[in-house]
Symmetry: C2
Subunit: 382 residues, 2 copies
């Protein structure tokens, strides 16, 4: 699919229900209905899913990891092959992270300096560097529709001083990222800033205010879901979205469970990504409206019921007995079906959330889900 | 899908081109165009493929392994869950083998007696028995549309005496299988006999003649592709099909490469099954009209060409560079796409073979394929 260069990136806020927002992000590659969940396609593949099923699950946009793609097969190689969309046969919008998070979580011997991060590849041990400029260059080579500034994901816990200096470094990197983006990006591509500041309210406010002054197409809340707990996470989200501009999408990075998503939507978040649905799918876990099921559990050996009778997903029509058989037998199809069903479950949660916001009934919807999901959820974990 | 019990099993021979045959098998669950290739769904799944893609690849009928399904999850369990079609969400015809081949190739401590085979499960070591009657009972519990008699797959090499006594045992088991089938089967289900006799021409003729006298809905050629070599295999096929009745389908079990299939079609075979396309797909190998490719090969890292430009398969449109990246990264999608592309390649070979027979041009077609495939094939193996 050729990108339509006449089009630009834009965000339309279509309805509000208290802090919850219903919107649409327009990109040259298609529209993203918000609140939106982005399945994670780390290495240019949403694991164990065909692009057709990612789309059939109700996905408008996927995320890909710049760190992984820079290391293998290489951003320059993907550019020569026509860009990431063509490479992985995904025509819709793609958001790429900057690579910063994985540099800090996966690589060894990393050294963070003003200039950027030097690190060793977790694949072959090669010494590499990511600067704000290189992070943007790589994302432009990939051809990402939404790109992220390079930031330092502040480790948790962090002292106030450490959190402040880390947040300020991220701010300087955000400005450099924007300068690089203005030079390198193609029409219609967007750049998001990332707020940091650990769990310190004033630092989060400073970070968001400063990013707003620099000016981005959207704003992410970073450095959360790193051990601070759900309550601190949600408080920090609320503090940050209160400062962010109304007319730009807000993205909570790397979160989370269905309950987390609904709670964050209630605090003004529009976009999410998380490996949870696909990773859980590869580990025999299924998300349903009645909680999570572990399909390895012997109780399902003779269970003729479909995985999720309330889902429109083709993968959710298979019986629990069949899925139990597949995972017990180590058959790839088990991971394929559970990953698909889980991604579609997440998209169905987002779809119902959007409907509820449109109807001004989001709080009641989220409460019902939490009650039902919470009442049954967790009982089947092993 | 409910089986339409008014319908029956039948075979219509629609055209002949020398010994090559174009036909249609009608079953209550749908029509099978012959020559037909049956992908193997060992454990109630064609490995790493969705049923949707098995069908999209052009598949009319799949094979499932009774031995595997008897051991896990159990034929009685599948029957209680509504039968194999419902269990695996495959609405089309299913052929099941008798389990005999796997008993002899996979299990330890097997003992072959007149009554049947006693063996130890390769999964949990439990001692089990398969008799001709139990093999049919299990296939009826699964609800297979085409069932196979229990036979002894004569090991290769075998002395004439051993081959003769083994063939005669298989004949007695075939008669007992038929008696059990007449009692246990549902309307529209079919039973195939299996000719044995190793590579001894007279034994093969005796076996086929005797099976014909017993009378089956179709006839298989068993005990081949076990080390005798392609030339001996094809000679034995020709000897056997010369004796088999014209008005019944002939099935060559467990064969083979695309070249094998075309050579066997030229000798009067109508049906095939083989794990090769899916197993090769899981091992980075792709079948194309220009031979086999090993996608792990570094030569594909920058190759923008689609896997198989001549295929209509959705999986064959991905670039060789992308598939190389997936297999190098150990991504499940690599096995998914290569399995799909390989099964569809086999089905496209069958489709072109059927067209060629209809046009009376099969010999030229097969020769062209062999020349093109053979000229390029094998060069890329590692």
């Amino acid at each position: 699919m050729q990108r339509d260069v006449r089009q630009t990136f834009s965000f339309a806020l279509k309805a509000r229900d208290r802090q919850a927002r219903l919107g649409e992000i327009a990109t040259p590659r298609g529209t993203v209905r918000t609140p939106a969940f982005m399945p994670v396609g780390t290495a240019a593949t949403v694991k164990a899913m065909l692009p057709e099923t990612v789309q059939a699950a109700g996905t408008d946009i996927i995320l890909a990891n710049t760190y992984h793609l820079m290391l293998r097969p290489g951003a320059e190689r993907i550019a020569k092959l026509g860009g990431l969309h063509r490479f992985m046969c995904w025509d819709g919008p793609i958001l790429t992270d900057s690579g910063g998070y994985q540099v800090m979580s996966l690589s060894k011997l990393r050294r963070i300096e003003e200039r950027g991060v030097t690190f060793q590849s977790h694949i072959d041990g090669a010494t590499l560097e990511v600067t704000p400029e290189r992070a943007i260059e790589a994302q432009c080579l990939l051809g990402a529709d939404i790109q992220m500034v390079l930031d330092e994901c502040t480790p948790y816990p962090a002292t106030r001083d450490k959190a402040k200096s880390s947040m300020e470094l991220s701010l300087r990197w955000a400005e450099r990222s924007k300068q690089a983006f203005q030079i390198l990006s193609a029409p219609g591509q967007a750049l998001f800033g990332i707020a940091q500041g650990s769990i310190y309210r004033d630092l989060r406010e400073q970070s968001a205010e400063a990013l707003k002054r620099v000016g981005f197409d959207g704003y992410a809340v970073g450095g959360l879901a790193v051990g601070e707990g759900q309550s601190a996470m949600l408080d920090t989200v609320a503090v940050t979205t209160a400062v962010l501009p109304e007319d730009r999408p807000r993205y909570l990075m790397g979160v989370g469970t269905p309950e987390d998503l609904l709670a964050a939507i209630a605090r003004g978040i529009d976009m999410f990504d998380c490996v949870m649905p696909t990773r859980s799918g590869r580990h025999c876990q299924a998300f349903t409206w009645d909680g999570r099921l572990n399909l390895r559990n012997a109780r399902y050996a003779d269970d003729p019921n479909p995985l999720n009778a309330e889902s429109a997903c083709s993968a959710a029509r298979y019986s629990r007995a069949y899925l139990h058989h597949l995972v017990k037998s180590g058959e790839t199809l088990g991971a394929m079906l559970l990953s698909w069903a889980n991604v579609q479950f997440y998209q169905e949660v987002m779809g119902r959330a959007r409907e509820a916001i449109a109807q001004g009934a989001f709080a009641a919807f989220a409460e019902n889900v939490a009650r039902r999901y919470g009442a049954a959820g967790g009982t089947d974990e092993t």
